[in-house]
């Protein structure tokens, strides 16, 4: 993934350092609304349905305190990643039982073929690094979050 694509997928307006609600469904809506406010979502209801349907299949808690709710839906016009973090953590039914403190929402258009898998795998690979997770927890500005991710992914 090149720098320009990444800049567009994860712009600073898609990064929130405010505390999200501590319950999974509410947190998912909170992340979705950040994408809505940034003008990325054309159909909020369809997008929420797609996200919840995916959560119903298996939860998107992947362990190490990370939750990656995601959906492939016509409710968005372009690939979008939203970031938020929770100090207490949110129960995302992770296999290791750890609550999710770093939250990434991935939204890709239904026509986006494999975008969704490639974003998911690039992000997961970056997040396997303890140092990357520490820096995301410590980041004091949206720019620090996007910088950390850009460096880790690129």
């Amino acid at each position: 993934m090149d720098q320009q694509t990444l800049d567009r997928i994860l712009s600073t307006e898609l990064v929130s350092l405010e505390e999200p609600p501590d319950e999974k469904r509410a947190a998912i809506e909170h992340l979705l609304d950040i994408a809505v406010d940034a003008g990325r979502v054309t159909d909020r209801e369809a997008t929420l349905d797609a996200l919840l349907e995916r959560e119903g299949e298996t939860s998107t808690g992947v362990g190490k305190g990370i939750g990656i709710p995601h959906a492939k839906t016509d409710g968005v016009a372009e690939p979008t990643v939203v970031f938020s973090r929770s100090s207490e953590g949110i129960d995302f039914d992770a296999p290791d039982g750890k609550p999710a403190t770093l939250l990434f929402m991935i939204l890709v258009p239904a026509s986006g073929s494999d975008d969704h898998l490639s974003i998911l795998s690039s992000l997961s690979r970056a997040l396997m690094d303890d140092d990357v997770r520490d820096r995301l927890h410590a980041a004091e500005s949206p720019e620090a979050v996007t910088d950390t991710l850009m460096k880790a992914i690129a």
Partner: protein, 92 residues
């Protein structure tokens, strides 16, 4: 140490439900299992994050490496998971 190469059958690849069943299956065995996609370093197969990081899609080939007393049994079970079409996961 035992190794096996498997081509992924589920349409969405090693992701979502198949990935979570895969990780659960790894954890049912004593053997230490790693998984790798072509030309890349193996990662821990019992970590959902690591498995997701592979980005292994339908039709991709992965290498499974198992070490331990029940390594062969683990590989048999994991091969089953990776070669079961997604529609059959829904029936469980």
């Amino acid at each position: 140490m035992s190794e096996r190469t498997v081509t992924i059958v589920p349409e969405d690849g090693l992701h979502a439900r198949p990935a979570s069943v895969f990780v659960e299956t790894v954890n049912e065995f004593e053997a230490t299992v790693e998984i790798a996609v072509d030309g890349e370093d193996p990662v821990a197969a019992n970590s959902m994050l690591a498995v997701t990081s592979l980005g292994a899609g339908h039709g991709d080939t992965v290498r499974l490496i198992a070490e331990g007393d029940d390594a062969e049994a683990a590989l048999d079970a994991l091969e089953d998971v990776l070669t079961t079409p997604e529609s059959e996961f829904d029936d469980e």
